[in-house]
């Protein structure tokens, strides 16, 4: 799903969630927003970010392609702040990969109504 397709898909989603709204209302602009497209609430989160013009990237649990094709280059080019709504396991992988660039998890919260998901921000003391 490319960004345009994602925005269209997000726009027709019927439900709205507080976490997604809070991101949409946030003044912070992240370099990318990651969401696990297996979970509707995470899709909403990504859609809200997309509407704000933030680059949104979908995963389905495994972060290999995301990291290989995007984050690796983004982080190698300089510190980048990213936010996401994923499983804890996906976040764990991203956290370990972020360490390679001296970036860290700045914030993490369980997602209400879905015990499998966390929403988080990775950035760096060097940002």
């Amino acid at each position: 799903m490319d960004r345009r397709e994602f925005c269209l898909a997000g726009a027709v989603m019927a439900t709205s969630f507080a976490v997604a709204r809070s991101l949409a209302a946030s003044p912070a602009i992240f370099d990318a927003v990651i969401f696990d497209s297996r979970f509707p609430i995470a899709c909403n989160f990504g859609a809200a970010a997309c509407r704000r013009g933030q680059k949104s990237l979908a995963i389905q649990g495994d972060v290999t392609a995301l990291w290989r094709d995007d984050l690796r280059l983004r982080w190698a080019a300089g510190a980048a702040a990213i936010a996401g709504m994923t499983t804890e396991r996906s976040l764990f992988c991203l956290e370990q990969l972020a360490k390679d660039h001296w970036l860290r998890v700045l914030s993490r919260r369980s997602v209400p109504l879905n015990g499998s998901l966390v929403w988080w921000v990775i950035g760096g003391v060097r940002i």
């Binding site: 495994d62 290999t64 390679d100 001296w102 860290r104």
Partner: protein, 550 residues
């Protein structure tokens, strides 16, 4: 600022200032939030005072920087702990063996110096990850494969030094064995090259391993005698085709003949791909399918089958075997893979079947027969590391799913080497399952099958969970140490372990009043008299720290 034990604040400040002079202020880390990045994500002492912590970290970008840092550390007697990328989770991660060390973090040294397609070798710095090397090869369309562990995010050099393993052909799966030549910064800062690299204009550094005279490469693995700053590796020529097949055997007693036949075929190189032993009847998956089972659940099982499994002893009951025979569910299933020209691997598979056909009731199946390289769109259908493709999908194994509702916070690998016989598999299950039950350890609860990373031996690789409960973690740590002892009493030792357990593991290697350990210490005293380099790694302590708690 944290300060290493036994080092004064002023000396430490002096060392830090000099480190900054070498690498620049931005590459020396002393704040708590930066140093937290060097904690072991799977520490068995999670959030306890004994958790190993660094006092600082320094990230050089060149071998000359490493030499100068080591010289400064000697002047101030500051202990260092070298890591490549620190991704060996379950075996210690990036945390030092001795709390208070300055981590010398080599991940900025990430140059791929050479990949030679014509003779299939590479020369790398320690910061090069398997992903980096794979991408380099793909971008240049070089026809060579890497052999990577799973997950493949770690350092090629670091994994080899830690003696890790992978999933392609037998002569590449043992990562230390497949190296060829090293460059090492010694504890006094001097630079050494091993093998043919000791010749100033060496033309065969990555082509002939041992050079002339004593071959010393082994002492720089799982040790603290030097910092490896370059390392050569032999790569696998990209095969023309890949075939994966299964051999299914119906009876419990077939385990021994199955292993004997596998050994002959592998030692003869009739089959060289990663052998993977499963038991459909016991419900034990091949390694290549663990993540699939975790994602979508194990194959369906009848109530009768499930009930029979509750009454097996060491994986056996007459009733279970009868059920398997009646339902045509194999007791054992050996997954074999072959790499090479199609006509060659077809012939190898024919020979393989001829040998296994001597076991009554053996059945054969071809699971996959594909040309290489794989169609990228189909890669996810396979266990990528068996094609030399690094992946992070392994992390789905520990994810929360309906089949794994309470994932752990990490794990410590229990990984003893046992003989490559069917009898040893059963005996190790008997010994370890009894001990684990007595200790209340969550290991060996059902019949457990070993892995075949190495030739000639088996290895169990079992995850002991790290939890958020300190009392549970303490019980598991003590149980883990006891399992190491029990293994040692039967002649089995770990191949690798986290710093917390390195003393227990090395105590098992006690032949002739710990002659090996005493030799390690003699070497340490000779080449690192100030004891600055990675003190305590694999229980090799400098003289001034021996006998003191770490």
């Amino acid at each position: 600022m944290r300060v290493p034990p036994g080092v004064s604040q002023s000396d430490f400040s002096g060392a830090i200032a000099e480190f900054q002079g070498v690498v620049g202020k931005q590459w020396v880390f002393t704040s708590d939030e930066d140093l937290d990045l060097y904690r072991d994500a799977y520490s068995p002492f999670l959030n306890e005072p004994e958790e190993r912590m660094a006092s600082a970290a320094v990230a050089p970008s060149a071998t000359e920087d490493v030499q100068r840092i080591v010289q400064i550390a000697n002047r101030y007697r500051v202990p260092l702990y070298a890591i490549s990328t620190g991704k060996n989770l379950g075996y210690g991660g990036s945390a030092p063996a001795y709390s208070g060390c300055v981590v010398i973090d080599l991940k900025r040294m990430n140059r791929i110096i050479e990949v030679n397609e014509a003779n299939a070798f590479a020369l790398l710095e320690p910061g090069v990850s398997y992903f980096d090397l794979y991408r380099y090869i793909q971008e240049r369309k070089l026809k060579v494969w890497i052999d990577c562990p799973d997950p493949g995010w770690g350092s090629v050099v670091g994994n080899a030094i830690d003696r890790g393993g992978g999933y392609t052909a037998a002569n590449y799966r043992n990562h230390f064995d497949s190296h060829c030549g090293m460059e090492v910064v010694l504890p006094n800062g001097e630079l050494l090259r091993t093998g043919m690299g000791a010749i100033p204009k060496a033309e065969t550094w990555q082509q002939y391993k041992s050079g002339c005279g004593p071959w010393i490469d082994g002492i720089f693995s799982q040790s603290n005698y030097g910092i490896v700053t370059k390392m050569g590796f032999w790569l696998m020529p990209q095969p023309e085709a890949y075939m994966r097949c299964t051999v299914s055997l119906p009876r419990y007693r077939d385990l021994g003949p199955m292993v004997e036949t596998l050994n002959y075929l592998e030692n003869s190189r009739i089959t060289a791909g990663f052998p993977d032993i499963a038991s459909p009847l016991i419900g034990y998956p091949p390694i290549a399918q663990i993540q699939l089972w975790n994602e979508s659940g194990p194959p369906a099982m009848t109530d009768e089958h499930r009930k029979l499994l509750t009454a097996v002893e060491l994986g056996y009951s007459r009733e279970l075997e009868a059920y398997g025979l009646k339902s045509q569910i194999p007791y054992w299933q050996l997954w074999l893979s072959f790499h090479g020209p199609m006509e060659v691997i077809e012939a190898q598979w024919q020979a393989t079947q001829r040998h296994f056909a001597k076991i009554e009731g053996a059945k054969f199946s071809i699971v996959d027969r594909v040309s290489v390289p794989l169609d990228p769109a189909k890669i996810e259908n396979y266990h990528e590391p068996e094609f030399g493709i690094p992946s992070l999908r392994a992390f789905s194994i520990g994810a929360r799913t309906p089949w794994n509702p309470t994932p752990s916070k990490g794990h410590m690998w229990f990984s003893p080497i046992i003989p490559r016989t069917g009898a040893a598999i059963i005996e190790a299950n008997r010994v370890f399952s009894q001990a684990a039950r007595d200790l209340g350890m969550p290991l060996f609860r059902s019949f457990t099958l070993p892995a075949c990373f190495w030739e000639r031996s088996f290895i169990f690789i079992l995850a002991t969970p790290v939890t958020e409960d300190a009392a549970t973690n303490k019980r598991y740590r003590e149980g883990f140490k006891r399992l190491i002892e029990v293994g040692g009493q039967h002649g089995w030792g770990e191949y690798r372990t986290a710093p917390v357990f390195q003393k227990s593991v090395m105590d098992v290697y006690s032949f002739n009043n710990h002659a090996l350990h005493r030799f390690h210490e003699t070497l340490k005293d000779a080449i690192d008299p100030n004891g600055v380099l990675s003190p305590g790694r694999y229980d090799i302590w400098p003289r001034h720290l021996r006998g003191k708690p770490s």
